[in-house]
């Protein structure tokens, strides 16, 4: 136990003796940690955006104006029994009329023309949603069944799969993700270089002590370990600081982000709350392993015991 304490004390001494270099190392590692946060935030937001887009996809059935509400309800039940259908919603003819009036309330000519007909020209509308994007084409084929057409209930079908939009969105999402991953890789690489150099400087500044330690029979582990542990210390401080700054920031911007995306799935704060321990462990673990490796390389190269 006392040996471990002495190793830790030795580590603290190294840290203090090269204080400014240690601070710079922590700042660079903090940037790497922030890039990790950005990557996570990007994934949360793009996933939420993709979900939103998916929700916009539907198959719309425009029923003929003569179709009664009961017939529309029966058709709804029939479609609900199709495989891969997630939901079927019916908007009655009256609801469609009211929606139209609201949408065009500022266009007097349109409203005048509609009122002039003195009757509701709209039929019910049925909106069908699939479980996944891939199900829509199958559902659309089912709706092309001749028996349905023979009943003369469905006046028109429309299927806007927005596949082009989804594809463009995926492309943008991939580009953003690669950019953030590139930034993360850059700062990670920079962190490794800075840790390597800091440990190298520490070894140089401690050369008298190291020489004496070798002379009086200190074990190789006792001489080397403090330098390797120093890398872990930098990691813990850097990750701790980055979380301490990032979490309040995320909580501050969260209401605005959720409002913009109109879905709580875009809440980065909620994601962090639900996965805090995992995220801390992953960031700390990754950076610690990388910095220990870098410190180990410096020790192996410059510290001959």
């Amino acid at each position: 136990m006392s040996k471990l304490l002495r190793i830790l004390t030795s580590t603290a001494v190294h840290f203090r003796r090269n204080l400014w270099l240690s601070i710079i190392t922590i700042v660079i590692m903090g940037f790497a940690s922030f890039a990790g946060h950005l990557l996570i935030a990007t994934r949360v937001l793009t996933t939420a955006a993709a979900e939103l887009l998916t929700q916009k996809v539907d198959i719309t059935l425009y029923l003929s104006p003569q179709t009664s509400n009961e017939t529309a309800a029966q058709l709804q039940k029939k479609i609900q029994r199709f495989p891969n259908v997630a939901s079927v919603q019916v908007e009655s003819a009256d609801q469609v009329y009211a929606t139209f009036l609201k949408r065009y309330e500022k266009e007097n000519d349109t409203i005048k023309a509609l009122r002039a007909i003195n009757t509701n020209p709209f039929g019910s509308v049925i909106r069908v949603r699939g479980d996944t994007i891939g199900d829509y084409s199958k559902i659309f084929e089912e709706l092309n069944d001749p028996t349905l057409a023979a009943e003369g209930v469905i006046a028109r079908k429309s299927f806007d799969d927005r596949s082009d939009l989804l594809e463009r969105f995926s492309h943008v999402e991939r580009s953003i993700r690669w950019t953030v991953e590139g930034v993360l890789a850059f700062f990670l690489f920079l962190s490794l270089i800075v840790v390597y150099n800091t440990i190298r400087m520490a070894i140089f500044s401690q050369r008298d002590e190291i020489g004496i330690m070798k002379l009086v029979g200190a074990t190789n582990g006792f001489i080397r370990l403090p330098f390797v542990i120093e890398g872990v210390v930098y990691t813990v401080i850097a990750v701790g600081l980055s979380f301490a700054l990032w979490i309040p920031f995320v909580r501050w911007i969260d209401p605005g982000v959720v409002n913009l995306f109109t879905t709580s799935h875009a809440s980065i704060a909620d994601f962090y709350s639900a996965n805090m321990l995992t995220l801390v462990l992953i960031q700390t673990g990754t950076l610690a392993i990388a910095s220990m490796g870098s410190a180990g390389l410096a020790v192996g190269r410059y510290l001959k015991v």
């Binding site: 006392s2 040996k3 002495r6 008298d208 002590e209 020489g211 004496i212 330690m213 070798k214 002379l215 009086v216 029979g217 200190a218 074990t219 190789n220 006792f222 001489i223 015991v305």
Partner: protein
């Protein structure tokens, strides 16, 4: 205690530091190794503490063949050999007590043991009243005595002093020499590397003379002959 069997050391490409050195240093002996600069004295000492490896031959310390010693075994060897240098090699930011205690701390000695041993050793070297001083507050002779105390904390069987009086005036050199003699009288094998004629002649113990990497003289009650 220490055996050299045909020890040679070649530094590439063509520098021969030692050539077929043979000799035995018995337990409790006081041996002075003398020679001009560059004759191989320091190389011999470095091989004793496994800082260098012989190109040929064997070295045995306390029955242990250290010729091909492994890296993890070196600390064990070095704890059995105390080393003192011309430039003292003290840590100026540590007190006298801390400098001596350092040798025990890095080897994992418990605090209680350190607090017991260090004052005892400082008393042997006559510095028990200066434990809180820093090296730069001491004279050269006192600094060297701190270094000797540090070398003694592990109760080594062998003490090697490499030019211990090199940076000292005559009076302090004499003090250190007397201290080394005293340590030897306690039973520690002492190997003194020096080219100080007065020190060697004053000690009047065994003298091994090196010249161009070979032993040219080995006298029981020797004198400085170069």
């Amino acid at each position: 205690m220490i055996e050299f069997h045909n020890v040679s050391k070649l530094y590439p490409p063509d520098i021969t530091a030692l050539t077929s050195v043979n000799g035995v240093i018995e337990h409790g002996e006081f041996v002075s190794i003398v020679g001009r600069s560059g004759t191989g004295k320091t190389t011999l000492i470095k091989m004793l503490i496994a800082e260098e490896r012989p190109t040929a031959g064997r070295i045995v310390v306390g029955g242990w063949d250290i010729t091909h010693i492994k890296a993890h075994e070196k600390p064990v060897l070095r704890r059995q050999i105390g080393m003192v240098f011309q430039d003292f090699k003290l840590l100026n930011k540590k007190t006298v007590f801390e400098n001596v205690a350092f040798a025990l701390e890095v080897c994992g000695a418990p605090s209680d043991h350190i607090k017991t041993i260090v004052p005892q050793v400082l008393k042997i070297v006559g510095l028990d009243n200066k434990i809180d001083r820093f090296p730069l507050q001491l004279s050269g002779g006192e600094q060297q005595r701190v270094a000797i105390a540090r070398a003694l904390v592990h109760a080594p069987k062998i003490l090697i002093a490499d030019e211990p009086t090199g940076n000292l005036d005559a009076i302090h050199a004499q003090e250190i020499t007397d201290l080394l003699i005293k340590i030897n009288q306690f039973g520690t094998t002492l190997v003194l590397v020096t080219h100080n004629r007065e020190v060697v002649n004053r000690i009047r113990q065994r003298v091994i003379t090196l010249d161009h990497g070979t032993i040219i003289s080995d006298q029981k009650n020797g004198k400085y002959i170069l």
